[in-house]
Symmetry: none
Subunit: 241 residues, 4 copies
């Protein structure tokens, strides 16, 4: 039940630094390469055998270093996980920043919504192998990742909420809906929808799900049809620099 693994057949050559190599190594420091190799190996193993079922020795072996060397660069097994999750979170937050920074005034707010959904989905698909690791990290007591994850999500839908609030003042949102609550709840569908998605999903499938999710969000909040959506420049002048 515990999922004993056999990684012996894994042929990934994550790190093949020659031990007695020439001095002219190049610019990439040894350290970086080792750290990177460990992270790549851990990412691979945390996905398939899973975090709990992956001994540090397996990570070390796959990374082509000894177990003790891993501990030279990471204080903990969990700190390897944390590094992976940190990278994931950082990249995710960048999406929100990017979305807020480059708003085309000519786009409708429906299109903004649609773009956000697609970017969020693509990010998750791109990092699908990391999800089990992220979930483990979030369950860890006192790790703070649960909060970090929520913060990252909030960074995303805070922006949505500001759009919706602006729209509300234009009278095109449903008065019986609590916009802040609705934004968060609806946003969470993105995450959940991915579990129904085939890992090798085609672009069409992703686009279709994106369409549906955007429509659901739209109809739940707005009273007008998507094709009547106002433009960003009309609704959000303050957000456009």
């Amino acid at each position: 039940m515990d999922g004993r693994r056999d990684t012996s057949s894994v042929v990934l050559a994550v790190n093949h630094r020659s031990k007695g190599r020439a001095a002219t190594e190049g610019t990439d420091s040894e350290q970086e390469s080792t750290v990177h190799a460990v992270l790549v190996a851990a990412r691979y193993l945390f996905h398939s055998p899973g975090y709990a079922s992956t001994p540090v020795s397996d990570i070390a072996r796959l990374a082509g270093v000894s177990r003790a060397t891993v501990y030279n660069h990471f204080s903990d097994k969990s700190s390897i996980l944390n590094q992976l999750v940190r990278d994931y979170m950082t990249g995710y937050e960048k999406i929100a920043i990017h979305l807020r920074s480059f708003i085309d005034p000519e786009e409708s707010i429906y299109e903004l919504l649609h773009k956000m959904v697609r970017d969020a989905m693509l990010w998750r698909i791109e990092n699908a192998d990391l999800r089990p690791a992220v979930e483990v990290a979030m369950q860890m007591p006192d790790s703070g990742w649960r909060e970090a994850d929520e913060a990252a999500d909030r960074a995303m839908y805070d922006w949505l909420a500001s759009i919706h609030h602006a729209a509300r003042s234009r009278g095109i949102t449903r008065p019986d809906i609590d916009i802040d609550f609705a934004t968060g709840a609806l946003y969470s569908m993105i995450e959940a929808s991915l579990s129904t998605l085939n890992p090798a999903a085609t672009t069409e499938e992703v686009e279709m799900i994106t369409d549906q999710l955007t429509l659901l969000q739209w109809h739940a909040i707005y009273t007008i049809a998507p094709d009547k959506s106002p433009l960003a420049e009309d609704v959000l002048p303050s957000l456009l620099k």
Copy 2:
């Protein structure tokens, strides 16, 4: 980093069966009481130190039982977890069955939706302490709980889907929405909303969230206002025995 625990101060008297007790103990056999005590202890510990950080010896001690006895009733540490999750899942599925079985013909379908959301939320709130355990179980490789969880969810919203489909034939649903996909996606909001909920939520808070979630689901799919919702007997004659 791993969350070492100290349960020595836990004063729960989970199992204080007196050894030389009177014969007229009641109907619960010794066996059941031991199994129950272990499950109660495990449920408590899997919540707070967490599954990975809880040694079987701690469960045994808290249950007032020896480690060997635990292994007399459970083959594995994981099988304790499985039993807890199984009970959780079974109870959850019963909700769906109950909802489908007792439909008041006089209720509107909005009210059916509302009732479903509330029951689902209450079940989750009632078993909130079990969620970490359930999540760990779902992450376990080859345990099948991920699938079981999805099946349980589907049992719930399959019923919703049948309502929505019937409503579609009456022309009150949005034509641009894929009802099956939407039902699942919208249903997932319930789960996600609970993470924002204070564990000691008041009835009012729960009711408010229930209202919001029901409204979001409604507006996302239906074109008419909730108070215009048709009655169950008009839409679902086939579901009423």
Copy 3:
């Protein structure tokens, strides 16, 4: 290395008392039959898997009773062993008594010696399957079997020693030999010789070894040829009642 056993194929029907049998059982009490069955089973298993490798549960199963029932009749696993060894020792001591009691005055003392060697050998051959158990018992701390075994041996060769001492006064023994020491040392050859003996030894082989052992003992102590051996009535008048 520990010799895990599989007694599942053992078809010995050591104890097939029917549980719901008629009341007219006969005179053999249930107890005796159960005790006997356990002893037979233990004797069988202590030989082949060995004492340490035989769980009480295996003994019980082979005896056709439950493990707890075994503990109704024997306080200990070791007390089963002790009972077996006790029977062995008791039977062994009887040989010495018998030998001392029925001395044919017409026999030569060489023939007495020969008869003793043969009886001792036959006893050991007859109980060969018990030897491992006896050895284990003798190794047990504070069990007293080591001493009991030596006492039993001494009962045997004390009698020899009295013959030798009587012979010494007739001047037919080697003056440089300590008779008491020699008797014990030479007697020990019997035990040792059995380890070289094929378990399925023919009568001829046993007789041959008996001859050799008797000769060795004789020559080591006596200065005269075996066929010049005096008669018992001439040497041991006091031993003949």
Copy 4:
């Protein structure tokens, strides 16, 4: 009944390797010292509480080492025993080799016999504490030590047998004795005599027993008096290089 022990009061400081010791420790590597400490501790405990009554944890504690470390060097509890027995056997076989290699041509064959008996006795006395362990090892199923022990003994008395055979061709042995059988049987007296020996035997006692045992062997096989024993160079020219 099983001989529970309490080794808590044992103050043996078997292994007090200082953790932060100077580099110039000596030649014994850390490894060797740990293995050695474990063997010394096991030897001590296998003697007194006995093999079966000695948990590995006790061995570890007495060796000043953790239980896991013991398992780093020994696959099994039994393999510790095997190592002890192996050392014992190896040392024992060396005696036979030594005896055969250094024969003083001027010695009488009686003296050869005498020297053999003494060396065999001294070896056993020196390793008296190991005997219980050796006996346990020999009783273990499929361990092969019983056979190894017999082989070691045979290495010893094969050499004796070759002397006796040579003597036979000189007509000084008893014609009614089977020399091969006799050699083995008589040799076994050495072992048996030790059980009568006080552990703290004086040199005189040992010498006396040696004398007696040699005489017994001699008289049992040879027809001439010990002081008429021929010299090695006369009887065994082929054995002298």
